[in-house]
Subunit: 362 residues, 2 copies
DNA sequence: TTGTAAGCGTTATCAA
DNA sequence: TTGATAACGCTTACAA
């Protein structure tokens, strides 16, 4: 019985490179090369090595590899704390696929909420356990704490902006999207508008609100006709927005929301109070999460190219990690208005609009 | 100017323990102890060490620590591939909070879908980069591949069952939950029932279906009155279930779903086809995801104690990691029926009317 | 209580 | 193409 052949399950101690090298009749150096740089060893040798590794069920110890090589192939993806799982899941999946394909592991976490969790993640970066960071959240540098920005690893921002310049960034054209939302309502004859915003100082929000204002001004709508309610993207704040809406007199007839969650929370609350969409009020969301098609009525919204955002972010980071220097001009991708059933002609315009439609149809 | 004081941002090279030890006037051994086992050094020394570490912005290199100490403090949490983000997010958050509080980092990933991603994760475990695994998905041991079960690390299952016995398990009482769903409908007078199942060979599913059958048999309902549609927990399969439902004649009046997503997909599709809930059909979901309150009508469902499940899973794993041996009797927590607006009395009179019509048509 | 020194399991340098 | 050997940065016997 050969003592190299300890194949049994649950070996008390996994094989090390030395043992495998011995079994293959080579040095540890050759062993290592055969596995991580196959073309630098003779095919026959390589074959022997690989065979021995398989027999002994050998997997290189990652901690040792990382210590020696100075890289862990782990990437931290920082998501917002209260986040639209429904939206980010798509982005995250694209990131994960891209990273995995290049041998990297994704670690997910928030740098915002639970202080304990956040500090641990930042420490992990400083501890050289993380090769790079993708930021999907604006609050990268928290007050009083070591910032991940100072850890000396490459950082890429996706749908977000880093406090300090010089980092590659992937963005949706938020201003254009907000204009598309608003114009859609204006074209339906809505003039009393409610804007339900995300967190006020977020990068996205600043640009979106700017777009909303511009579209409103373009249409010659007076400031007095417009309201703003500041939310935080959540279902709950959509409910609050609807309460605010219900208390107005006269009520707005068109509502622009900065997330589908807020739009859905708004919709449900308004409906329960007897205000129907799109008859009494039209609502546009943002993100096109999966549930947008399943609420009642189905939600008109902005579709963000989640796959594209995630994949571009991951690829950009991988390029940084391989030492390429990149231009910092943001990569901008486009959102798209998806019209469903939650928007329609403004109440007082409805009749004439219908007549016009019938006229053109006839 | 002291060359120890290189505090500048983006230091080319982070401080090592040796430098900090020198700056504090102690050996590396004392330095290490002062930071990881504070009570084993004199307070004054400890103070000097901590001060020096802070000055030099020192964070111990994690790879070196892991190599030497033989533990990485990383835990893999394996989620299903097509998963109810809305449900698992709650469980995952509870796990993360618990792990973070004990100095552990959570790595998230699926062992089911993308083969490339799955293989990488398993390799990570074999590479000793993962101290333990929490499984939220049934397909732990995939065919043909090294299984995470053989990697020799502690494994805990939450809402799932591991193919091989001997692992601690945290479960909801699925059978009792399914009975509660079904009885709720039966008490409303429903007798023609549709059961929309999750993936057929999942542990949960087996127990839930058993509960459904038992409740049906208890009520003396004939097999001929009962249908089963096999879905996969997704919104999409809820849509398919509704199509199946719409094609029946006579149609069931009560629908038991194994996820809220399926219930919501069903609801929307049925509503669009002119079938109203709860007037024409009553629907019960499972999970009580956040959106359950926001669909129209609000969904009657089963609330699973997500926090409890996640926290119990994490605590159990931490106990394993600290070397305690545990009983393998499953920890069972209870779900709870939450009655909202998607369920109501069976439409007896209209039903018999319809049957008459169908009878004459046939 | 503190210091000395031997590893942890790799990879990379250099010489053969 | 391969082998000997020195790091990588930390923890922990063991000795003082």
């Amino acid at each position: 019985m050969n003592d190299d052949e300890s194949l049994g399950r649950g070996d008390p101690r996994p094989a090390r490179i030395q043992e495998v090298a011995k079994a293959a009749g080579v040095s540890t150096a050759t062993e290592s090369r055969a596995l991580s740089a196959p073309n630098t060893v003779r095919p026959a040798t390589r074959q022997r090595v690989i065979e021995a590794a398989r027999r002994l069920n050998y997997t290189p110890n990652e901690a040792a590899r990382a210590l020696r090589a100075g890289s862990t192939r782990m990437v931290l993806v920082a998501v917002p704390d209260v986040y639209s799982g429904a939206f980010f899941d798509g982005v995250l999946n694209a990131i994960d696929v891209e990273l995995s394909a290049h041998g990297y592991t994704m670690i997910l976490g928030s740098l915002e909420g639970d202080e304990e969790k956040a500090r641990r993640l930042v420490e992990l970066v400083y501890a050289r356990q993380i090769d790079g960071v993708i930021i999907l959240s604006n609050c990268a540098g928290a007050a009083g704490r070591k910032s991940v920005l100072d850890a000396g690893v490459p950082i890429v921002a996706v749908c977000a902006e880093v406090d300090r310049p010089g980092h590659p960034t992937i963005l949706v054209d938020d201003r254009a999207c907000a204009i598309a939302q608003t114009r859609h309502l204006i074209e339906f004859g809505h003039r009393r508008l409610l804007y339900v915003s995300g967190i006020a100082d977020h990068y996205n929000e600043i640009h979106r609100y700017r777009g909303f204002r511009d579209a409103v001004a373009d249409a010659g709508i007076a400031d007095a006709e417009v309201r703003r309610f500041v939310g935080d993207y959540s279902l709950r704040s959509g409910v609050e927005a609807a309460r605010f809406f219900l208390a107005q007199s006269p009520r707005p007839t068109g509502v622009v929301c900065c997330s589908d969650e807020m739009a859905i929370g708004f919709l449900k609350t308004a409906t329960s109070a007897g205000v129907k969409a799109p008859q009494d009020v039209s609502i546009v969301g943002f993100d096109d999460i999966e549930f947008a098609q399943f609420c009642e009525p189905a939600l008109t919204t902005i579709r963000q190219p989640r796959d594209e955002l995630g994949a571009a972010g991951a690829r950009t980071l991988l390029r940084c990690l391989s030492g390429q220097s990149l231009s910092c001009a943001p990569i901008v991708v486009e959102g798209q208005l998806v019209v469903r059933d939650s928007t329609g002609p403004a109440p007082r315009f409805r009749r004439s609009f219908r007549e016009r439609r019938h006229a053109t149809a006839a």
